[in-house]
Symmetry: C2
Subunit: 243 residues, 2 copies
């Protein structure tokens, strides 16, 4: 059975404006590979409601899962819950279970559960809450859309809580051979290898370091014996140029 497929939607101007370098994409991609869910596409859109709604409806229809990050805090630019509700044609109200979680958290902290913070208890429909062990305000899963926070520590904690709930597949295994030769030298034999192992994904990622050309050849697949076999053949093809 093929692995479930997934897309990720990153919501926020901070990456598009060049202010912030992504961390969540990198984290989720690794976690999904280990869990056997194939991440097939990522989109980053700005904090505009129409852009979020369009991307959510496109991606949730195309993939088995959609993971979003960003835009579920208490400030005016946090519009993800509104956009998700709109995408599903649902109303967005404060839900008692989410409010209780926030009330308990702020009571412990001695802080007021004011109107801004109560916005974080707005959960659409019968969405299942995603636990936030750091700052309590929950994410949620609505159908196949999993809505999480953008702060990297909180995002990672939510992913850790969510993934065990999702049926995974076979983890994607990956082996890398670093070859100190230009891609143009290795392309021919590499293409033959790739043709012989059509069930594997063989990628070549070139680099230039201190004026020296090289490439990391990555062999990915679900069948460990097959990955090992292809890697053995690859290593024999270029015995003198490996790092």
């Amino acid at each position: 059975m093929p692995n479930p497929t997934a897309a990720m939607l990153v919501i926020g101007d901070e990456i598009l404006s060049g202010r912030t370098r992504d961390a969540n994409m990198y984290h989720l991609a690794g976690e999904l590979a280990r869990h056997g869910i194939d991440l097939a596409e990522v989109r980053i859109v700005s904090d505009r409601r129409e852009a979020i709604v369009a991307a959510v409806n496109d991606l949730r229809a195309t993939y088995d899962h959609l993971f979003t990050c960003g835009g579920i805090g208490p400030t005016h630019d946090d519009i993800t819950a509104d956009a998700i509700a709109a995408a599903f044609g649902l109303a967005l109200h404060i839900r008692a279970d989410a409010r209780d979680i926030l009330a308990a958290h702020y009571a412990r902290s001695g802080l007021e559960l004011n109107a801004a913070r109560l916005r974080m208890a707005r959960i659409p429909g019968d969405a299942v809450l995603i636990d936030n062990p750091l700052s309590s305000a929950p994410g949620f899963s609505l159908g196949n859309v999993h809505v999480m926070a953008g702060v990297p520590d909180i995002f990672a904690a939510m992913v850790a809580g969510l993934l065990p709930r999702l049926t995974g597949g076979t983890p994607l295994l990956s082996q890398t051979l670093r070859i100190l030769r230009g891609e143009g030298e290795i392309a021919g034999p590499l293409a033959e290898l790739a043709a012989d192992y059509a069930a594997l994904a063989i990628g070549s990622y070139p680099f230039v370091k201190d004026g020296v050309y090289g490439a990391n050849i990555v062999i990915r697949g679900q069948d460990k014996a097959l990955v090992d076999q292809a890697m053995t053949r690859l290593a024999r093809l270029f015995p003198d140029s490996q790092l």
Copy 2:
């Protein structure tokens, strides 16, 4: 006149599989902001021809510019030029000007211009070449689609050569105030400020550091006087909690 808009398409399994952390997106986003081109969306797709063609045709129709990175090297998994040609309904042949550039480069290096390397001289239609001062194999601009390499140093060099050719707009200015208070405390006044300065984008980016909650409030806009004015008002709102 509003700034030109842009999207970026990152092509490559290495980011989706969690192997590589993006660098090109972060670089391009910053360069475009300085050049006055508004980056509105980024997509990352895998090395599958149909996925690339669909994304290219969607994004080039939606935005003034589309910048792609990745997949233009000599190996079997470099299929971007093929996909771009297919998206435009063009054939893909070796073009003399590109072949001459490669021939001169490999002659200087004492390396053979073999079949794999010649693949990098395949340029669709009347595309304008994008200079590659590092390893010579050119990128190209076809209509509003700018096709560049994925190796970060080469990508950055291509962007530096390309951007002066593109009409920019007003650079996006940005000022940040770091506030050591939870977002829930500042959300109310911040929403009022955002409503009063509708021409600016005011974003709140929360963080948790050593158990302390804070937020970076970023004010972005094209009018320096207006950004200054809003920032002055913001700083007066939270005089005691700035870092």
